[in-house]
Amino acid sequence: MFAAFLLSTLLSFSTPSDTITDYYDVETIATPPGLVAETGGLTFLPDGRLAACFHRGEIMLYNPKTKTWKLFAEGLHDPLGILAVSNQELLVMQRPELTRITDTNGDGVADRYETVTDHFGMSGNYHEFAFGPVRDAKGNIYISLNTASNGAGIRDEVRGKYDPLGRQGRMYACVPYRGWVMQITPDGTVKPFASGFRSPNGIGFDAKGRLFVTDNQGDWLGTSKLYHVEEGKFYGHPASLVWRDGFPDIDPLTLPVHTLDSMRTVESVAFPHELIAHSPTQLVTDNTGGKFGPFAGQMFVGEMDFSRLIRILPDEVDGQIQGACIPFYDHAGGKNPLRIGNNRLAFSPDGSLWLGQADHGWLGDRGIQRIRYKGGVPLDILSMKLTPTGFDVTFTQPLDESAARDLANYQCRSYYYEYHQAYGSPQKDVRSVSVSDVTLSTDRKTVSLTLNDLKINRIYELKLGNLLANNGRQKLANHAVFYTLNRLVK
């Protein structure tokens, strides 16, 4: 922490004025004395109060106007997600079940804990975390279930059917629906929805209501990923396959890698390991209509190990979602630096982005902070779209011409991460990709880059030089952006 502070101090001295802290700031929310604020979930009630759940099982309500906390519920088992239904009712995802928690007598404290679903197994392994819930426009609820880790064993007694074929491998699924996203329809039907996840700690929707899930680098994940999740699909981590209807009675790890590879749906956006994320967390869509700045409609993703968030720049090719990721508020420092361990994100009605922090035995800070938009438009990348010959990169501000037209300001390389059983992957087949041409749009906001080498199933890492706006008064906030190219534009 001291080192991070030192680094951010160094950065703030070496960076010229015009930094992201001119447009956003961070406020730390005081939590009650005695609370170990390992934050598992954040949600805003219709009346504007924040509901937060914590590792030791508390749910507390915070009134941002009076800055006071009040206990709402207690005794939950490692709750890692929360969703407000009304001012009296919450849905909470705890280890053993999805629970509807209600204050039925209006005394401000929950008195009814109803099981919405516990139709999934538990082996007692610590890594069987449960995430969500999120709810779509039709009222369907989605939760995601972590696989178990061979860092520890299982209990003598498990809940649900035990399948030894799912017990193999580094992260395993020996009880039902570990590594799955589950759907609960409004009539209460529980449906295994999609499989192939390892540690799906982030679940949410984009601006069009499409379901997305983040997953964490490890076995079968060369790097961390963002998936567009659709019913019936398999996303690559094999352990969960044992719980797929009609899957043969075999250990999925005995299937050849190319077979598994042909079965899986690849990620929409890869988060290059270390460069963007170590451990991506929840995703939220900026639904503030501009109250949070110029990125309305875009997805933000949390990250455990770095003082930054991740912003998604979506693209669509042939009806398939792919796109880029870029840091947001990256090691910005400032008077009140953004801490690490940003496990949960929620936009408040006032348009600020609240961050629930946790370490959970790994790296991370604890507590709650919020990022507020102060005004102005930072110079940053607004979108990145694939073209038949390269990329169109659009900025938030018209660019100063000379730097924008200078080819030396655009460096590109491409690589991929291996899909294999081993833990993580180095960058493979790293190639320098020459940028042969740049043109600037008439509004000076979009540069069209021509690249000599566009291939599928690779990440294109574009490094930008000192692009400027407003006659040099504004400097580019982020200099690297990472595009996951799954399909070419024909």
Binding site: A3, L7, R56, E58, H278, A422, G424
Partner: protein, 356 residues
């Protein structure tokens, strides 16, 4: 004779101090950003082969630095930024005496280094790890002069850091005092993984029990206290909550109800409501909803289990497995051959479990 031995001993010691020794030590990363050994003591000029085993679920390295250089090396490692991964997060500087490569979970690497006299820190220089994941190697001929491990500032002291982080934490571990009755859903020993520990106020200092939400049944009860969550709350939540008190009753049978003549479905847990903080559990078996509210005996160890049964035309039988030292007393019907056949239409039924 004594004098001769003393002389020989001195001679040998002197020899050893000059000759180089070889030693092999294995250090593991074992989760919670910790090395399993945080303090090693060697003779000076020992050639140390150090094997680093990564038993954690994230990548680490192990770097040995010059004395008093740990923080400096950690800062330089952090400043590597995007170049970090290709260098295994190890900065190129004289302060680094030896290092392993990045070791992925389950992997190992080793290093060899000869240490002169002094205190040599070792540390994981992955971003963020260096401030808590470290230890010290003392190369000394006078180990008796070292500070005790409790006061040693060269090793991370969990109590010291915990104290700094949570000096406000109330005794309960919550921002409020623990108030009985209290409910904890947690991992309990001798129960399925969906366990609910409940502590009730009683003259005995607390009458407590575990309800298994997976099997919809009481598993065991204890007297004289409630639970200790320290280990369960620590880290990733693998370890059990501990029972505080003495277990006097274990239900050695299975699900306690037979509803209808057919083979019963698995019961479905439906949750609970709190009545003056006492949980009343709700579950459904063969289409019949049953609620269970457990209260302590007014005196002595024991529980009063009150069941409320939804209207049904099916026969309803309560099952209780006899055990020495435990007395079951049903409010209606008779306990015969481990069964209480409830009269048709029974809506409420209590079973008192006591040790008399």
């Amino acid at each position: 004779m004594d004098r001769f031995l003393l002389f020989a001993g001195l001679f040998l010691t002197t020899l050893q101090a000059i000759a180089q020794r070889d030693t092999l030590i294995t250090i593991s990363a074992s989760g919670g950003l910790q090395f399993d050994q945080k303090r090693l003591v060697l003779k000076p000029n020992t050639r140390l082969r150090l094997v680093f085993q990564n038993k954690d679920d994230m990548a680490h390295n192990l770097v040995i630095t010059r004395p008093n250089s740990r923080l400096r090396v950690v800062e330089f490692a952090l400043a590597l930024g995007a170049k970090g991964p290709t260098q295994h997060h190890v900065p190129m500087m004289d302060d680094v005496l030896a290092h392993t490569s990045s070791v992925e979970p389950g992997g190992k690497d080793s290093l060899t280094v000869t240490l002169t006299e002094g205190a040599f820190p070792f540390v994981c220089t992955y971003p963020g790890h260096g401030s808590i994941m470290y230890g010290i190697i003392y190369a000394t001929n006078t180990p008796k002069l070292l500070p005790s491990p409790e006061t040693d500032r060269n090793i991370p002291n969990p109590e010291r850091t915990t104290e700094a982080a949570h000096h406000h934490t109330a005794e309960s571990g919550h921002p409020y005092p623990l108030q009985l009755p209290a409910v904890y859903r947690t991992f309990m020993p001798d129960c399925g993984p969906a366990a609910i520990a409940v502590g009730l106020p009683a003259p005995t200092g607390g009458e407590s029990y575990v309800f298994d939400a997976g099997q919809c049944r009481l598993r065991y009860a204890w007297s004289g206290g409630f639970v200790d969550n320290t280990e369960q709350w620590d880290g990733k939540g693998q370890r059990f909550t501990k029972v505080v008190g003495e277990i006097y009753f274990r239900d050695t049978g299975g699900f306690p109800w037979k509803v209808g003549a057919n083979q019963p479905d698995a019961p479905q847990f439906k949750g609970y409501r709190l009545i003056n903080r006492y949980p009343e559990f709700r579950y459904v078996v063969n289409g019949v909803e049953i609620r269970e509210l457990i209260k302590p005996l007014p005196t002595g160890r024991g529980l009063i289990r009150t069941f409320t049964i939804a209207p049904t035309k099916q026969s309803v039988t309560f099952l209780a497995t006899a055990q020495p030292g435990i007395r079951f007393k049903p409010s209606v019907g008779r306990l015969q051959h481990g069964e209480v056949k409830l009269p048709v239409g029974t809506r409420q039924f209590t079973m008192t479990v006591s040790t008399q």
